[in-house]
Amino acid sequence: MEEMSAELRPARIGMIPHLRFSTRHVLLILSTAPAFVILFLVGLILWVGLVRDVNSGIFSTGVTLDHYRALWADPLLYRALFNTAQFALIAMAVAFGMGVPLAWLAERSNLPGKGIIYVLMVSGLLLPGVFIAMGWVFLFHPEIGIINMAFKNLLGLDHSLVNIVSVPGMGIIQGLNLVPVVFITLGPSYRAMNPAVEEAARVHGLSLLGTLRRISLPLLLPSLLGAFLYVITIAIAAFDIPAIIGLSNRILTFSTFVYISANPREGLPNYGLVGAISSVMIVFALLSCWMYVSVLKRSYKYAVVTGQGYSSRLVKLRSKTVVGVWLLIGLYFLFTIVMPLLVLVWASVMRWFQPPSLSALKLASLANLHDVDWSMVLAGAKNSAVLMLVVPTLVLVFGGAIAWIVVRSRFQGKVVLDFSAFVPHAVPHIIFAFSILVAALFLLQKILPIYGKLAILIIVYTLAWLAFGTRVLSSSLVQLHKELEEVGRVSGIPGRVILWKILLPLLRPAILSSWLWMALLTFREFTMAAMLATTRGNITLPIVIWSYWSGGQSGRASAVALIGFLILVPMVAAYWIAGRRFAVLGATRA
């Protein structure tokens, strides 16, 4: 009977063959739905840049190029773009200047204590930029910064030593903040490079410099270029540091310009102008995205060079060099993690911020903790918790479907899927937030009222992390031989059982570590929340801090930041423990 019905079933002239009707359709919906929303949100921005007046009607007021003309006329924007370029370039210089040699030292030298560098780097990556930026303000603000004041008193200067409330100042901080990103992206390519190719050059008579120039550099170039394009998108789109340090002093970059244009202190938001500048940004983003992908393709071609069975020979460092290197690393972490956190502790016990001293210590109290609006903090903590549970799960479901189709199927549209999943990485997150804000206010208000709801954050976070989730899953799926699934199909095991019993257990390390990673990213997310978290229903912990900070209550902001930090520590620890446990099973890293 069963065989009869199977025989009568019409041929599946399908694009994704061999899956039962339902599984196939579920997969298609799960993968195309987010891709569609992403493309729709990008399209919406392009449209908003053309509509005469969004406030009076998104479809009814006609199309104009006025906003694009206004781009040239707006001095504030002009300034902001110039600042962004300067900010990003300085950040890149700092990030690569430190990240490249650090990655080399950790991968290719015999530097002792490398494990600690990894721990510190990943911790640096996870520590919310908001916390660090606040810490830096307390340390280096020209008027209130502790270190600046100490030097003023010590040396009798009439001006401050370092001024971080400036574009170069913010750029340097952003750069220091991006060092871990450079480190993490470059590490694997150093590791993957077979030292034999360098040795072969040396044996055949090339000098050390010649080897470096003609062999090592060309081999590393694709990954260096890839890392460059990857990091510069982050630098251009950076929001937390420009917001915490620059916004109150009217030093604007692209992201903060979008933020204040969408949330003006008075009057109606100028959606058209933001739409126009965002469109320009999207074009640039897609261009760099295209470059990134083509560079990545080249680096894969080189990756074949790595053979099996070689152990990276480590360059021996002299003990003096080791001491020097560790001194630098120590200073780096002192200034980027330890001191900002310590000064936050100090600020949280001070009613009004003042430099540490014995007399000030007598004023220390828990008043800030007492004065904090606890119902708001709890609401923020609850929302953050819900987001951390829901968002990574959704990303894995959608990203898993996309990854499977891209890696395993011959679906004609998979290139589009792959591309759309990559878009959220290239396009600044604040643009996505802006787009969904416009959609919520002008398109969905009746059908799907998500404005001011937690749902709007769930949607935009899920889309934003989709690029990461898809890539982690597809890179581990590629490593799983497809015959492992095929043998299941031949033996008659239904698709969902193959998923639960074979695919998921085998992908577990990747799923677990990426889930935890995205949960942590969700916890520290600030950019999109700043645009969209407008009510108690969807405020997140970083936004509670932000609202105190921008309201001038730095003590309370610091107190809440410390609470956030205390929540973060056990989570990072869990991430490390999970990472170590599953690394034994051959965890697949992104």
């Binding site: 069963e2 079933r9 041929a11 095929e486 043998v487 031949v490």
Partner: protein
């Protein structure tokens, strides 16, 4: 048992079209050990995947055990699971997160059969015993050696009691010595159960050792279907002959019936009925050459110079220069040859093909 009629397959690789299968028609009889032999890229894997249902042909019809499992015109495409097949993959595809026994029982419990666990374990033990893996039943599959994984893969394929066993180069991942051993095991096991096997390989020795019949595939087309001996002794084309082992080649032109002009001189052949001035290709297997240190004044004898020799243990290859061409003589006797020797091409051993 397996009928493949007019099966074609086209892939789009970027803007290029690749056609791994061109109008393939084959029939495998019940209980046969049928080997598809072809070089890589010949389409043999694609054909096997079309039979299994993992791939859909673009044209044609496939029947298994008298039942149409795929037909383009009738719009039939059965799921792999509904075709009554077992399959052994090239990578073995042993699920590394499960034990040996679970690898075998998962298809029984969660597959079409929906066997109760108790019965599945019994069945699993039975097939594992068949491949002598019952002692390692509870071992995690990730701890198995290559040969052991191979056995588990065979056990898993047999556990669902398939009508047809498909094997995709199952020996290619084993080292040379183990390969011979497992080859004999597969031969004995399948004969013992009497199952129909469709087996693909690029290794002509493997093919000849296992097959009851061989189909030679090249460029997506079936070039010859025959008994192993026939394929070796009477290859249908120059291409097939090359696939079945290295040969000495001579191009030539027919002078008259039975006499061919070649670069090394005039060669007599046994083949009749060739037209004068036909361009032809003569082939002779390495071991069919006769080499002696003195001339015997026989037919097709040519003076040759020994250039070098390759010692392979059980056999020796002598590289000869015969006139303007090079030839290889394969012998099993370690003998000392003088610099100049005489090579004879026995008429009855010369294979004749149309020239290129």
């Amino acid at each position: 048992m397996i009928e493949i009629r007019g099966v074609s397959k086209i892939f789009n690789v970027g803007t290029r079209q690749v056609q791994p299968l061109r109008n393939v028609t084959l029939e495998v009889r019940e209980g046969e050990f049928f080997v598809l032999l072809g070089p890589s890229g010949s389409g043999k894997s694609t054909l096997l995947r079309c039979v299994s249902g993992l791939e859909e042909p673009d044209e044609g019809e496939i029947s298994l055990d008298g039942r149409v499992v795929f037909s383009k015109s009738k719009r039939i495409a059965l799921d792999p699971a509904d075709r009554g097949i077992g399959m052994v993959f090239q990578s073995y595809a042993i699920w590394p997160h499960l034990s040996v026994l679970d690898n075998v029982t998962l298809p029984l419990i969660r597959g079409k059969r929906r066997m109760p666990r108790r019965l599945a374990v019994e069945k699993g033990r039975e097939v594992l015993k068949l491949v002598q893996m019952d002692a390692l039943m509870d071992r995690p599959a990730s701890l198995l050696s290559g040969g052991q994984q191979q056995r588990v893969a065979v056990a898993r394929a047999l556990s669902i009691e398939p009508k047809v066993l498909l094997m995709d180069e199952p020996l290619s991942n084993l080292d040379a010595r183990l390969r011979e051993e497992v080859r004999e095991e597969i031969k004995n096991l399948t004969r013992q159960i009497g199952i129909t096997v469709l087996y693909i390989t690029h290794d002509q020795i493997e093919a000849m050792a296992l097959a009851s019949r061989i189909a030679v595939l090249a460029n997506g087309e079936v070039k010859q279907v025959s008994l192993p001996r026939e394929v070796y002794k009477k290859p249908a084309s120059h291409e097939v002959a090359t696939l079945l082992g290295t040969m000495n080649w001579l191009s030539g032109r027919v002078i008259r019936d039975g006499l061919v002009e070649t670069p090394i001189g005039e060669v007599r052949i046994g083949t009749q009925g060739l037209g004068n001035d036909d361009e032809i290709l003569l082939g002779i297997r390495l071991e069919h050459l006769c080499v002696a240190s003195s001339a015997a004044a026989g037919e097709n004898e040519f003076p040759a110079e020994v250039i070098s020799q390759t010692f392979l243990g059980d056999q020796i290859w002598y590289h000869l220069r015969v006139g303007p061409t090079r030839m290889v003589w394969k012998t099993f006797h370690d003998i000392d040859l003088p610099k100049t020797v005489y090579a004879r091409l026995p008429k009855e051993k010369i294979l004749v093909f149309a020239g290129r």
